[in-house]
């Protein structure tokens, strides 16, 4: 019998109940929550993990979930390394998080020169041990959960959370939740996915997790076969789902969107495809935590939402949304990391808002970050690459609105000397080719405009907004 210890995910899952009747479904594995709570996913002896900093870098979500359940309350720190993040960042993340142990399901990841002293591989599925490990969890410690977000330098930032800040109010079990089956297009190594994983774990529902190795079609078929009732994703996830012939394989009661600006078109299109579903959108971010839900079927949100929840204080200052609550991240890890909160404890989300007719609408990012289908692109990082091209004098990278991914990256480029003759097309192609060799696909500009000059402000910086 596990002790009731709110600092520990295992005991919280037990408190939520429905253990044997609800399941966690991965791509090629599944287990009920009873097996997850009492079993082990880690190969070999796992003693000595108490108080250690553990970097979890599996490709498979199910195995990451099982490792989180096994290690929370034991490890001092767990770092969630997303499967789509380049392994080039692994040594930096390991060093910044002071990692003692690397947990992975990939020989390729283990083979990277990551500098971590110990590697533990995952088993395919959890197995039940013979040793009663209850005493270990009786003295559970509050583990730091580290989520990675994109940083201006191209290196990820490490945001520190705790189980309490991530789970928030998801501690009470609703009797009706036993019949719910949650799923999400998100990966749980991202805030949006982790939020759903913890919600399912702590409110007593089943959960079907997606996989980076699976097509949208196959995921929809699998989610449908398991009778998914509640499902979340970004607007880009949903646009892709609606383009799939298997969109009708799921018949959800509740649909939630988050992670990007939600426009009216995607709300209407999702509602038309699933007429019986309640369609909501949520504001949440890795740093600011969960802000609010919008349930009226309209884009933006009513101004009164900002003052409607005493537990989550929100305000608009200098045009951006600020949030203070127990749900925000605690700080960033790393010596030269930026400051997360202002003097009053508010996190600046950086998301710009406009008030029209009693309703706020998101208009973009103050720092110019471009959100391409859920991937954040820092314009400066792309400009730095373009500017390295021998014919380029300077460049300005900006967003172009797009109905599929929300936005695309485009660049205005000033050449050192204007081409004397011929169209600039081969030059554009050459700059693009150069970018493709240096940048991830979503960061490569889709259009290069050759312009005679760019505006530079009094500070000497590029003018980024008209």
């Amino acid at each position: 019998m596990l002790p009731a210890n709110p600092a520990c995910l295992k005991s919280s899952i037990v408190a939520a109940g429905n253990l044997s009747s609800r399941i966690l479904v991965g791509l090629d594995t599944k287990a009920n929550w009873e097996e997850l709570v009492h079993g082990s996913i880690l190969e070999g002896p796992t003693d000595g993990l108490h108080g250690q900093s553990v970097l979890i870098a599996t490709v498979d979500q199910f195995r990451a979930a099982a490792a989180l359940i096994e290690l929370d309350g034991i490890a001092r720190r767990m770092v969630l390394y997303p499967p789509d993040l380049s392994l080039d960042h692994l040594p930096y993340v390991a060093k910044t998080a002071d990692a003692d142990v690397l947990v992975t399901d990939q020989a390729e990841t283990a083979a990277v020169e990551h500098g971590v002293g110990r590697v533990i591989f995952c088993k395919r599925n959890v197995t039940q041990g013979k040793v009663d490990r209850a005493p270990i969890y009786a003295s559970a410690i509050e583990t730091e959960w580290i989520l990675l977000t994109s940083g201006t330098t191209g290196r990820p930032k490490l945001a520190v959370h705790t189980l309490a800040s991530l789970a928030g109010s998801a501690w009470h079990t609703d009797p009706a939740s036993a019949s719910l089956v949650w799923s999400t297009f998100y990966d749980m190594r991202r805030y949006g996915g982790l939020h759903i994983f913890l919600h399912a774990a702590l409110t007593g529902t089943s959960l079907v997790v997606s996989s980076a190795l699976e097509s949208t079609k196959d995921f929809l078929a699998r989610a449908g076969a398991h009778g998914v009732t509640n499902i979340s994703g970004t607007p880009s996830h949903w646009r892709r789902a609606l383009m799939s012939p298997f969109a009708d394989r799921i018949n959800p009661e509740y649909i939630r969107m988050s992670g990007e600006i939600v426009d009216q078109a995607i709300l209407n299109q999702v509602q038309a495809q699933y007429p019986h579903a309640r369609v909501a959108h949520t504001f949440a971010s890795t740093e600011a935590g969960v802000g609010f839900n919008v349930n009226d079927g309209l884009m933006g949100f009513p101004a009164e939402i900002l003052t409607g929840n005493p537990l989550i204080e929100m305000k608009v200052k200098d045009g951006t949304l600020r949030i203070r609550s127990t749900r925000t991240a605690v700080r960033y890890l790393g010596d030269d990391s930026p400051v997360l909160k202002d003097d009053e404890g508010f996190v600046d989300t950086g998301d710009t808002l406009e008030l029209r007719g009693g309703r706020y609408y998101f208009t973009g990012r103050r720092d110019g970050i471009i959100n391409v289908g859920g991937y954040k692109v820092h314009p400066e990082e792309v400009e730095a690459v373009i500017n390295r091209h021998p014919v380029v004098a300077m460049s300005l990278v900006k967003a172009k609105k797009n109905p599929i991914t929300g936005a695309l990256v485009v660049a205005d480029v000033v050449l050192k000397t204007l081409p004397m003759d011929g169209p600039p097309d081969p030059l554009r192609q050459d700059i693009l080719q150069f970018c493709r060799g240096e940048l991830a696909p979503h960061m490569v500009p889709t259009v290069i405009n050759i312009v005679p000059m760019l505006a530079v402000g009094e500070s000497g910086k590029l003018v980024r907004r008209a």
């Binding site: 079609k217 646009r239 012939p245 078109a265 289908g373 797009n402 696909p441 889709t446």
Partner: protein, 81 residues
């Protein structure tokens, strides 16, 4: 250039630029089986907006998303007429 030809040109061009293996573009081909990912579709839509002056995805908030390649072409043809 007619709409269908322009759509085919853009599918092929974007697949080439992104090193994607493009499936034969028949009317019944499911778009998600074409070999293009979301980013590629986003680029195709942006390029078609440039060349055809139309973005039916953005023009109609209630439009149903096309699922097959044939529907994709009709989506643009209907928007253009």
């Amino acid at each position: 250039m007619d709409i269908k030809t322009e759509v085919i040109v853009q599918f092929k061009q974007v697949a080439l630029e992104h090193d994607k293996q493009l499936a034969p573009l028949t009317d019944n081909l499911a778009l998600l089986d074409s070999g293009l990912d979301s980013l590629c579709f986003a680029i195709v839509v942006a390029r078609l907006e440039n060349s055809l002056g139309k973005d039916p995805f953005s023009d109609d908030e209630d439009a149903r998303f096309p699922v097959t390649f044939g529907e994709f072409i009709r989506f643009y043809e209907n928007a253009a007429s």
